[in-house]
């Protein structure tokens, strides 16, 4: 009988510990990713082209060696951010991830796309129509199909035409 209460406390503590770790893992891992990118010199509010993905250059899990990536770290805490990228003749996408690793937005960057960019704002702000609500830190990621060095070079040259910058505040 004297062990019943400790056993119940053990089980309840286990459930609390389990749920706490489980729900915080994605944010923790995303935070580590931000730290890694920052340590590698990727500043906020600018797209940076990553090297071709090889065993020697990989920095995140399961990179695709067939794609050219460009990353932008941003934070809506200091104001809205406008994100855009040029289309091209091939497969491409621009995706946005929140601090919980959710893919909250994706746009096609193929030639048939009419994507003109997206504004990202905190949910608490006076939101414009079409703006994406995202609170705090996020990552924008451009993927372009580039299985050869030649196509990678073309994809990398387009990064300078992409935008990830502070937007005008109301």
């Amino acid at each position: 009988m004297r062990w019943i209460v400790p056993l119940i406390v053990f089980l309840l503590s286990g459930v609390v510990g389990h749920l706490f770790v489980l729900t915080n893992l994605p944010s923790f891992i995303m935070g580590k990713a931000h730290q890694t990118f920052e340590a590698e010199g990727i500043p906020e509010n600018v797209f940076v082209s990553t090297p071709r993905q090889t065993p020697q250059t990989q920095r995140i899990v399961r990179p695709s060696p067939d794609l050219a990536y460009a990353i932008c770290r941003f934070d809506t805490t200091s104001g809205p951010v406008f994100i855009n990228a040029p289309t091209w003749d091939g497969y491409g996408s621009l995706s946005i991830f929140n601090s919980k690793t959710d893919n909250v937005f994706v746009a096609d960057l193929g030639t048939a796309s009419d994507f003109q960019g997206i504004e990202v704002r905190r949910p608490a702000e006076n939101n414009r129509e079409g703006a994406l609500k995202l609170d705090g830190r996020g990552i924008a990621l451009i993927r372009r199909l580039a299985p050869t060095q030649e196509t990678y070079d073309v994809a990398a040259s387009l990064v300078s035409g992409a935008t990830c910058a502070a937007a005008r505040q109301d």
Partner: protein, 205 residues
């Protein structure tokens, strides 16, 4: 006093046990579950909630650990396979023939990753096989494509993905801009690529 000590010990051990099980179910501890198994087509496993806000906490944690920055299903779907057609774990010690036909997506690729979800640490520069290669090897169409997975390059001109330094590896099939019929009926729309074990070590299997 003893009661208080028992309760404190119960809290400490309980919380740690709960945390460890969360790390295991979240794929943070070796041997834990992989990304998702809600969809299983001949052991090609996936979960349509990857990247989605509707993903349950377990899928969300596993994706964060093993597939960070994965796209939601409308843009890309991911299938992972860790065993060959006979159900044996994929191993660097063996040679495999991977083959298939037309896949329901705008573009696709099959990439080899080690047990830590990394590209294997080799310098062979043969890390994946994709739709473009399938078309090039088959006169512009992607029907009846095949490639070899092995730690050493094949002597013939066979398409090759290197498993050198891959250890106990997996193959990840990415389907970009998947066709709607795949999203609606995955097992009916996806002809699963075959992974045939050709030989292991010095002897044929």
């Amino acid at each position: 006093m003893q009661v208080v000590i028992r309760l404190i010990v119960a809290v400490i051990f309980g919380a740690n046990f709960g945390a460890l099980t969360a790390l295991w179910f979240g794929g943070m501890i070796s041997g834990g579950p992989s990304i998702g198994k809600a969809i299983d087509i001949d052991n090609w496993q996936s979960d349509w909630s990857i990247g989605s806000e509707s993903a349950n906490p377990y899928v969300r944690a596993r994706v964060a650990r093993n597939g960070l920055l994965g796209l939601r299903k409308e843009e890309a779907v991911y299938f992972l396979k860790t065993v060959d057609d006979d159900g044996e774990p994929l191993s660097e010690a063996c040679t495999y023939r991977v083959s298939g036909g037309v896949l329901p997506a705008a573009w696709w690729s099959i990439t080899l990753y080690d047990s830590e979800s990394r590209l294997p640490m080799n310098e062979d520069a043969h890390l994946s096989f994709d739709k473009t290669q399938a078309q090039q090897s088959n006169q512009g169409t992607e029907t009846d494509w095949a490639f070899q997975v092995s730690p050493i390059a094949p002597e013939t001109g066979t398409a090759w993905v290197s498993s050198k330094a891959g250890g106990a590896f997996d193959l990840t099939l990415r389907l970009y801009q998947p066709h709607q019929n795949l999203l609606d009926d995955p097992s009916g729309a996806l002809p699963p690529p075959s992974i045939e074990r050709v030989s292991c070590g010095t002897g044929a299997s």
